[in-house]
């Protein structure tokens, strides 16, 4: 055998394959990259396919629907917002490639709403080094936002896991001082951030007794029987879940099988998506009414109204836009769609706020100066400033009712606010501004 | 009667068989001898269908064998005992024998039982070891097993590829003798490939000498033994 012979020919063939795949160089634009007289190009990276995609693959379609709506109303100062989406399948190796493609070929103005902590961490340094705005990242990983000197162009799109866990933990500790509180978390950045927040609130767990964990992503294949069994055996009355929604569904189903009925379930909002919960249990043969009953009474938190609050003005407006403009594969109205729309709404506000002369630098300084004044569907204020790029700094706590709607505990919506560090939890006095009749942000 | 005409078999454009023509009469032992690499094994493998010939024909009475699948040829009554005591060593002795008659299980159930009994009578040692793994047998026993596996299919033509290879001379002689008796008593046609020409020619009726894929001598066995010049030229002694 000769390894060498066909080398030259194959190299030529390889070059052919390469040149076939190369797109024509896009037309150069004057001024800021990604901004022309008629267009603003934003880039988004998320898992559209693969194990991490369920649920999240709806966010881009929702955001695009809102941008299309804005464009149908004349865009931002006559510029249409174009959202270019890349599927990174939740693998950082691919995220690096698609980011380069967005930057160099799609010539985006800014990254918008990227999903996934483990993937975004692979490009965040590079994006910041190139001074490209990286706005409204769909991750609650606090390290991205708490040190703007490290990541000056990155802005959060979600409240951090730590803030939410702190608020939830403090509430549970005060409301149920005599109960045994346990936690089920996925052992990744999200789970550990949440655990840190609970610890700050004063909740301590004992490993192998009141604290159970699993490798993120294995809930669907290994199940959670030993974890739930462990919590049950140790007499845990209140189970806090810091995991994705499919794990919540598996946890509830397993508990039902084992005859385990904790006094309360409390689920961090990432894992409390009622649609996913009911879809999974539904296809396991659990009727919708039964799965709704299982979820009923569960405590969770949110910064925005629940998707089911159809009389809320933001929800009503967003839902209508979703019905009219969403061209995605799955357009069912749920929390993922709401988050996508709300982020797009915020992005539109910021772009309008910067004004006609749009540059990357201006966008960042605008967000640092005026970002905290931007409004959205959320009942909690935004935390953007020179010293922090955190988004929503507050959450309200609710319980699911029998129709899978999250309603404020005791019927009154109280928004608590705190920071990702050791600060105290206080009641927020933020008043959400009303949405305008055309559902377009009005920025001074 | 087996009639081989102008048989050519190539391996990546090297002719292993280069126009072989001969006849093997029914009920007799014909032996194919020749040095290593003469094409003896390829000849048997081509007849049994394991190798596809490039051209030429192989006929068993009126049936053309070339182009047929191995299974069809076996089912037509032509059994091969391949080189190297080919048994399936992970199966038991009984299973190996069972395997040989498996395709007749439905059609000839009674005869199959008889055939199995006969091979056990022929090789009593195999009956003793019927539940052992074939891999645990000695070389001679394995060769007996390989022959038994072929015999339970009730072949009319038996193709034997170097049955004495690697066996102690005594055992080899014993096996060849059993083949000889079988042929004489049942009318079985045997095509025997051997490197050890003396052993083979001693029992054979007819001898074919191959060299580099060609037939160089096609004579009755006793004449072939007598021809010392042929032996010196092609077999080296």
């Amino acid at each position: 055998m000769n390894l060498r012979k066909p080398l030259i020919l194959t190299v030529v063939a390889s070059a052919l394959v390469g040149s076939l795949a190369i797109s024509s160089v896009s037309t150069a634009v004057a001024g800021a990259p990604g901004v022309s007289a008629s267009e603003i190009v934003l880039g988004m990276q998320l898992p559209e396919t693969g194990p991490a995609s369920p649920g999240y693959n709806k966010v881009d379609d929702a955001a695009r629907a809102y941008f299309d709506y804005v464009n149908s109303k004349g865009g931002v100062y006559g510029r249409n917002i174009k959202l270019v989406v890349k599927d990174d399948t939740y693998k950082a190796g691919l995220t690096i490639s698609t980011a380069s493609k967005l930057i160099n070929q799609d010539k985006i103005f800014a990254f918008f709403g990227s999903i996934g902590t483990q993937t975004h961490v692979s490009v965040i340094k590079d994006i910041n080094r190139r001074k490209i705005p990286d706005i409204f990242v769909n991750s609650g990983y606090s390290s991205f936002y708490t040190d703007p000197k490290k990541y000056p162009t990155t802005f959060a799109g979600l409240g951090t896991y730590t803030v939410e866990a702190k608020i939830l933990g403090k509430y549970l500790l005060e409301k149920y001082p005599d109960k045994t509180i346990g936690v089920l978390y996925q052992s990744d950045d999200f789970g550990r951030n949440a655990l840190a927040g609970l610890a700050t609130a004063g909740l301590k767990f004992e490993a192998r007794k009141t604290s159970a964990s699993f490798i993120a992503g294995t809930q669907g294949s290994l199940g959670l029987a030993s974890q739930i069994g462990q919590l049950k055996a140790n007499g845990v009355d209140i189970v806090i879940i810091a995991a994705v929604s499919s794990a919540t569904a598996v946890a509830y189903a397993t508990a039902a099988q084992l005859g385990y009925k904790p006094t309360k379930w409390a689920v961090i909002s990432v894992g409390a998506d009622a649609t996913t919960f009911q879809t999974i249990l539904g296809s396991k043969g659990v009727p919708a009414a039964t799965s709704a009953a299982m979820l009923a009474g569960t405590i969770s938190a949110s910064h925005a109204p629940a998707p089911g609050e159809l009389d809320d003005e933001y929800i009503a407006a967003f839902k209508k836009i979703n019905d009219d403009f969403n061209k995605g594969a799955d357009t069912r109205w749920d929390n993922n769609v709401l988050q996508g729309m709300n982020a797009a709404y915020l992005a539109t506000s910021a772009l309008m706020g910067v004004g006609k002369k749009l540059t990357r630098k201006k966008l960042i300084s605008y967000l640092e100066k005026n970002g905290s004044k931007l409004s959205s569907a959320a009942f909690a204020p935004l935390g953007y400033s020179k010293n922090s790029h955190e988004a929503f700094t507050g959450f309200w706590l609710g319980e699911y009712d029998a129709s899978t709607l999250l309603v404020p505990i005791d019927g009154k919506r109280v928004v608590y606010t705190t920071d990702s560090a050791g600060g105290a939890v206080t009641v927020s006095n933020y008043k959400r501004p009303a949405i305008s009749a055309d559902a377009l942000p009005k920025v001074a | 009667m087996l009639v081989v005409t102008d048989l050519v078999t190539e391996f990546s454009s090297v002719k292993a068989l280069d126009g072989i023509t001969f006849k093997a009469k029914a009920g007799l032992i014909t032996t194919v001898i020749g040095a290593n690499g003469a094409g003896k094994s390829t000849l048997l493998r081509t007849i049994s269908g394991l190798e596809k010939p490039t051209s030429g024909s192989v006929k068993w009475f009126d049936h053309e064998l070339t182009g047929k699948s191995v299974e069809a040829i076996v089912r037509g009554g032509i059994a091969q005992v391949p080189e190297g005591h080919a048994v399936i060593s992970q199966l038991s002795v009984a299973e190996n024998i069972e395997l040989g008659g498996l395709f007749r299980k439905r059609s000839h159930k009674g005869d199959l039982v008889r055939a199995k009994r006969e091979v056990f009578e022929l090789f009593p040692i195999l009956f003793e070891r019927r539940d052992q793994q074939a891999g645990s047998l000695s070389g001679g026993e394995r060769q007996m097993l390989a022959i038994s596996r072929a015999l339970v299919s009730r072949p009319k033509l038996l193709l034997l590829d170097e049955p004495s290879l690697g066996l102690a001379p005594l055992i080899a002689a014993q096996i060849i003798n059993i083949i000889n008796e079988l042929c004489r008593s049942t009318g079985l046609t045997v095509l025997l490939v051997e490197q050890n020409a003396n052993t083979a020619l001693a029992v054979a009726d007819h001898g074919i000498l191959l060299s580099l894929g060609k037939v160089v001598a096609n004579l009755p066995a006793d004449e072939l033994i007598a021809d010392s010049s042929l032996r010196a030229a092609y077999l080296g002694y």
Partner: protein
Amino acid sequence: MSKSISLKHKVIGRRSTLLAILLFLFFIALSKQFDPYNQAQLANIATLLIAVLSITLLTGASGQISLGQGAIMAVGGYASALLVTRLGYSMWLSFILAIFVSALFGLFLGLAAARLSGPYLAGTTLVMALAIPSIAVRFEPFFGGDVGINVDYGNPPRWLTSFVGKISIEEWSLYVVLPFTALALFAVLNLSNTRAGRTWRAVRDNEVSAALAGINIGRTKVIVFVCASGLAGLAGALYGFRGLVGPSVYPTDLSLTLLTAAVIGGLRSIGGAIFGTFTVVFLPDLIERITSTFEVPGAIANYLPGLAIGTLLLLTVILNPSGAAGLNERIHHRIKKTISKSGGH
């Protein structure tokens, strides 16, 4: 065939140097035609090529099959990232040391795996591909958990920019990777034509007769495994410095992608490894172009790259198991035949 090799031994040493340099120049010439994204893709190819070569070496030259090369890449990646971030080593030195660390790892693994053949080795390496990233999560304070360790090639140094003018970050990454690729290519080309290479192939082709010829099968397999691990570790280090060393950078799929590249190109050919790597890196871009031209809905388009790679893999295996290089060789052969015929000999 072995005769021609031994006769040409010295010539080949020179030729492989030439070929490695040619490839180096070819990449640079190609990069000059490209925009930064495709320069980054080229750098990506140059990186992954080293890993694919490790499979060519392992499977093509000794018949062992590994579904866990990605995990060994992770070992190299973590080694270099830790050396740089914890001990302040230079990036270049850390790449070299990554080769040794992963080769050492390969030695341990090889000692266990040398006893394995075929599906056993495939399965064991697959389990390894699953387990290695979870070690990073398990020992979070040291390995950075699933967020990993941020490392990169840095900005193009001044001495270079003052010499060749302003270059993009992507082009710089290509310049960092290419010397290593050329070295790896040179090493593999030479290895496969030395006595050691012939020993390996003998083991691949027939273990029994190789053993009869006095070759120590176990030791040979371990040596191949160690060499391949060193290469994979180097690739892993370079791959990590694109931005991150973390579990999500070296998933199980990466191992399978590498194997696909090696198979498509032809497991026994170095030219094939190059072709295969080009294909797996550029094919998704090509498909994206086609789907966006024909406006294929996202729900289908998103899955087409996976479908195409899988189909390509199957077609290669069924129609032409020796891969693109084998096809190439056959065409070569035919052309030669036609020429010699028309030459009237």
